[in-house]
Symmetry: C2
């Protein structure tokens, strides 16, 4: 197959979702999609990197139920006003009507904070720094788009609580830092945090910073937010602590939500090309594909050597696929694995078998390099270099798309040139 | 806490859940609990080990929506009969009544198999081997018990499909093998698979094997199941493939569900003692706690050395806590961390500081060993030995609890002696 050119971004994206077997839109409920194995593997890897970073910054995982009783959800007035149009309601169970409706959580502030209040008596119980790597659901009425806008989405939500406003504000800055470490440094997706105007802040927050990235069609995609909640939730939820000065005070809170399926969508869009996906080595379900190239007379020798190469690369800990299907040509296989974004292709033919060598091909620019089998560990260096070079290109593209507008005229001009304000 | 585990298991378990801060039962919806950070960290580790094993056996992760449209759920008649009393129903969203009710999935066969049918045309599309590490919900009407019986539970569900019955039956055996590798070899929980009688098999299965472990009070706890579904689902879901003989055939299916929160409950129960939890080193949120022991005159020296030890152990990659709180005695700290199950305690006092040494204490038997700081990497060996010794004890206990009854009299006698039939 041939994808539409990436310049036709919308068509390219939709086709890629289908052809690379990333998602399936044919599930029988509007706005709910199946995340297929290739994409789910990548998403799980992204989670594990993000979680590792959060844990380095002293967050611990937690689980709160996915259902929120109506009396919790409606406790903070601005919050419920912001979400009431978006909530799925469970009203029945088995053969019974429930006494109280249960919301399928659209976000977890109102599930978590009554418990935070129970866990906190003195200043020594603070700070609390917890995250959940789970799903939320919103009855989205706008047009949906796979991994970008749907009714069920994967995110991380981190909820912190402190004794002072200063600590809470420092947490908002730390959230922006961990976003940078994960989204930019680890996944290669450039973005900028912008403080949201009043009308666009999170329902119940003092202020919101949101991370925007750019999609290839010039549109902005919000991929993470962090909010200073102040004492807006601690007051209605009676989340108090006895301070060292003997006075009872309300906790200061923050919440932070990287949208994991959107970050995946952005990563796919930044790194992909006209031939398909390009995956960073550390996120790829298959990191190296081995394609044997032979004629009848060299078949046995080449296939034997290809297996040796497979063993060697697996012993190095790489995720390897030896594509020895006999009913497909090497060219067909190249296209197939390029579509899937496998970062490194290793070609082995009679010459390589003879010399115990590898021809290593980078997915991004198809640059070829010869390695001896003994040097196979250099594959990871090649892949890392590829990632860093692509990341640098992404950065330059992001930079060139930003205009530092000093007045309305400059902003208008910038927008006409397809840039975003900074 | 000080409760005898064996004699008062039920009280011991409940107290431990609370005192070690594993779960919180005060969430405002019956049967839904909060999994607190200490337990959630362990649970996530268990998931990552289990998933690694499944991936070694060529499973890939996938995500299907948590909601199942009523028309899917009711398609296989035995299945819906088994579950209709247990389903939570979403009937409203935002301000609207939904046109079709959505079930919060009690299990995912009926969500997944319509899609499996779409993904499969020829024999080359099989086998399918996918797993989900997610939640399911059942409107449980029996008494609930934290991590053992509730309305929301964590599990893995793996769903496979094959061209032949033989392959599907081999998958059931493979499921029992991966269960052994994860639950017994990695988590140390002994169990036996039993074929369930007709009346107790999974709703819609040809047959079911279930893994039972023993709790300290002699009760049996089912912690995993694997089912040969045969063609019971492939027929109503039209899940067919064109075989190499040119005939269209229905796929052969299996499903497999390790109950992760139950496995955690069993691990806690097998490994804990009268003082609290005992955690396997590889699963513990904190693997090593350092407790400095000093008087006023040695304080500075001991605390300085304790920090050096902390640095050294962190450099070895261990998860380390230096407990230098000044308002608690060493004895208080010992109890606190023993309750939490930290497998290794390192005591450092003036003597250790002088000699650049460590006193290493095993959580299970409090056996002390002296190491030089240079030998710190031996901590992991000590911890591994501890795990293997405990696992061996668990095995012996399990063995001695099983009676191979040849007739009813022997079975009756065995049960009176607190054993189970095998």
């Amino acid at each position: 197959m041939a994808l539409p050119k990436k310049e036709q971004f919308s068509e390219w994206y939709s086709e890629l979702m289908k052809e690379a077997e990333l998602v399936d839109l044919r599930y029988g409920v509007k706005g709910f999609i199946v995340i297929r194995p290739w994409a789910m593997y990548i998403l799980k890897k992204m989670y594990s990197y993000y979680e590792e970073i959060l844990e380095q910054y002293n967050h611990m995982p937690v689980h709160f139920p996915v259902v929120i009783p109506e009396r919790y959800l409606t406790k903070e007035k601005e919050h419920i006003k912001g979400f009431e149009g978006e909530v799925f309601w469970i009203t029945r169970a088995g053969f019974n009507e429930l006494e109280e409706r249960l919301a399928l959580r659209p976000t977890s502030e109102t599930a978590m904070y009554p418990m935070y209040a129970l866990w906190t008596s003195g200043r020594k119980d603070l700070p609390i720094k917890l995250y959940m790597s789970e799903l939320v659901w919103r009855y989205e009425t706008k047009a949906t788009r796979p991994l970008i806008r749907g009714r069920e989405f994967w995110w991380i939500e981190a909820h912190c609580a402190f004794a002072t406003k200063e600590e809470a504000e420092a947490q908002v800055r730390e959230d922006m830092l961990t976003a940078k470490k994960a989204i930019w440094e680890t996944f290669g997706v450039p973005f900028l945090f912008f403080k949201r105007p009043e009308w666009d802040k999170f329902a119940g927050a003092d202020y919101t910073f949101a991370a925007d990235t750019l999609m290839p069609d010039g549109r902005v995609l919000q991929i993470a937010t962090t909010h200073l909640l102040g004492q807006n939730f601690s007051r209605p939820f009676e989340f108090k602590f006895m301070d060292t000065d003997g006075k009872e005070k309300y906790a200061w809170q923050t919440s932070y939500g990287p949208g994991m399926n959107r970050i995946l969508a952005a990563m796919i869009s930044w790194f992909g090309d006209d031939k398909g996906l390009i995956l960073p080595f550390h996120l790829a379900p298959v990191q190296v594909v081995i394609v044997p190239i032979f004629k009848d007379e060299s078949k046995k020798k080449v296939l034997g050597y290809a297996k040796e190469v497979e063993g060697k690369l697996k012993a190095l800990g790489y995720r390897v696929e030896l594509d020895d299907a006999e009913d497909e040509t090497p060219g067909f296989k190249f296209n197939k694995w390029e579509l899937k974004g496998v970062p490194i292709r290793v070609e082995v033919g009679p010459k390589e078998a003879e010399a115990k060598a590898l021809t290593v091909v980078r997915r991004d620019n198809r640059e070829k390099q010869q390695l001896s089998l003994e040097e196979a560990a250099k594959i990871e260096e090649i892949a890392k270099l590829m990632f860093e070079e692509m990341r640098k290109k992404n950065e330059e593209k992001m930079r060139s798309s930003i205009v530092d507008a000093k007045n309305w005229d400059e902003l208008k001009k910038g927008i006409e040139e397809g840039k975003i304000g900074g």
